[in-house]
Amino acid sequence: MFSFTRTLGARLSGVTARFASTAANAAKPTYKAPASVTVPTQFKPNTKGQGLMQLIAKEEVKRMGADGRSKLFNKSHPDCLRPGDVVLVETLNSMSADKTSTFVGVLIAMDRRGLHSNFTVRNVVLKVGVEMKYMLYSPMIKSVRIMKRGEGFRRAKLFYLRDNPGRAFRLEGLVKQDKAAQAKKAAKSA
């Protein structure tokens, strides 16, 4: 901690050199967080070569992306999402319960904004077009799985699928296949 307290301690220990040993042996004061305060994963700040806002954004990404979800937006990673992929997003309904909601659809947009990175998934559910926008680093997102890689999509944003869907949203077969595969996996592991 770069604060005046450290220099005071250094100054005091310099003045009272005779008591240096006792000062070193003195109990380090501890902080006990009250119930209304959380202590997140601590990092050491390194402002070299970047401004304050970049630094805190990077730290927050490291903290929120500790489960490895940053790889979904990292172009150099083989597991990166690409527009046109069919993805399954599992979100928690609330933080107090384990119940989840699932949404399957075509990834039509990815916005790379650091901590605020988000992606849009589109599907046609009961003849109604539904788009869901998810914040990548939201704690409510449990998992994002790629069910099928997109082929033949040559744009970064597939908004044209709203008017010209073609066969892009015929996903029932995929969902069935995936369910069967999941059940098999569960049976195997059980």
């Binding site: 005046f4 004061p29 959380t38 202590v39 601590q42």
Partner: protein, 291 residues
Amino acid sequence: MASLLSSFRAGLRTGLNTECRSFVTAATQPATWTHKSLRTGVIARKKGMTAMWDEWGVRIPVTVLQLEQCQVVQVLNEETHGYTALQIGSTDRTPKNVTQPMLGHFTKAGVEPKRKLFEFEVTPDAVLPVGTELVASHFVPGQFVDCSAPTMGKGFQGAMKRHGFGGQPASHGTSLTHRSLGSTGQRKDPGKVFKGKKMAGRMGGEQATVQSLKVMKIDNDLNLLYVKGAVPGVDDQFIKVRDAVKKRGNKIAPADVLPLPFPTIQPEALKAMPRELVAKTGGSDPYVMKE
């Protein structure tokens, strides 16, 4: 980066120049808070906005405020000045860019020349010695603060934007007067336009206070305050931050973080704290349907 190094230097400076004046030491009796006490505020710099997620998964916009070498420069008292206040200075300045009168003022206090000076009225029990450095932990996570600063300048603006006037219809014969302010008064009586009539003019650049903003997070290493919501002014603006006036007594912060550090955070308590502390929103889960 500069601020980190500067705060380190400030610590060295206060240690070397002001032996007994740097902060409230254990030797002096820390004053006890009463319901009539009024702590000092701080000067912080608005660094920008970002977002964070609370314990319920709700996304909260936050403004990042940084305390840059925030020190007490002068103590104003009842006998000499007629009221009790602390003059706080923020952000060091090179002495060659400071006028001689101001240099004398800062030398008397024994602090580096500051870029901005503001007064904060306090009660006599909350007075701090000259040279005391105010840090982010002067506030606690979860407490409410008021932020004051000049608003962003909007230039010369019409009455519709400046005062929220309705304008005239877009069609049905209206000629060349869609956004004008319309009538400015009556007829022969009073026969004049009253002073203060709302008209077009320069908008913005005035002092505004946003009240009862919650402190969501405190960073002790970088001296940052993350307050929920928006704060007036541009980035790098000097913001006056103080305890919310509309949250008296126990409403200022959650019960388990009370009492607020009075008159400011003690060095021992500060040393014990981890770098970052996040406030919980509290209450019940908003995503769970209440029966």
